[in-house]
Subunit: 117 residues, 2 copies
């Protein structure tokens, strides 16, 4: 039965790889990768995001300077069409992944929901 | 294409629901639910786990008393066969879910791996 389960996962993986969302995301990544300015903006934005997430996870306070720095980079990034298209593509992919997860995890959600009533 | 993607997810959900791992997990949950002693041990163990996880997420220190309390409950729980079987079933299910996720997320892992080279 376990092998069968993995077969279905491989079929979903294949469908994901061929999906419009994923193909579009790859194209938008390539567009940013091949543009030095877009690439450095995107990297800077990602680094600030990761730094703030890391601090949050460690329960550390985020300073006013850091909030302002993040906002400044976010504003700059929004002026670059390639980067904003990539961020939209990532957002769309992430929404699809969340919906896929919700579908797949339904049996477990039901079981835990029943238990925690 | 998006509809198609969800079709594959629904097929995987269906397979998960019919899998040996999931059916066994449901049975082990029912066994604990129907045994007052096992149920209260399991609930106590889960509560302590959740409390410690919550503190970790908030970056708070876990006291020596809390570690000892958690260990004491873990020891007690290990003496109950129904609870240990349920915990093993959960562990097995969780391992399968992780492997399914690894398979499904491969396209995205490859894309991000390529980008972050
Ligand atoms: Ca198949
Ligand atoms: Ca189908």
């Amino acid at each position: 039965m376990a092998t069968n389960l993995y077969d279905y996962a491989y079929e979903l993986e294949h469908a994901l790889r061929k999906s419009n969302e994923f193909i579009y995301l790859k194209q938008m990544y390539a567009a940013v990768e091949n543009d030095q300015i877009a690439k450095s903006m995107f990297d800077a934005f990602r680094n600030v995001q990761m730094k703030l997430q890391q601090k949050q996870m460690e329960g550390l306070d985020i300073t006013e300077t850091e909030v302002m720095e993040a906002q400044e980079i976010a504003n700059r990034v929004q002026s670059n069409e390639k980067v904003t298209r990539l961020m939209e593509a990532e957002q769309r992919m992430s929404t699809s992944i969340n919906e896929l997860n919700k579908i797949i995890m339904k049996p477990l959600d039901e079981l835990y929901g029943f238990i925690n009533r």
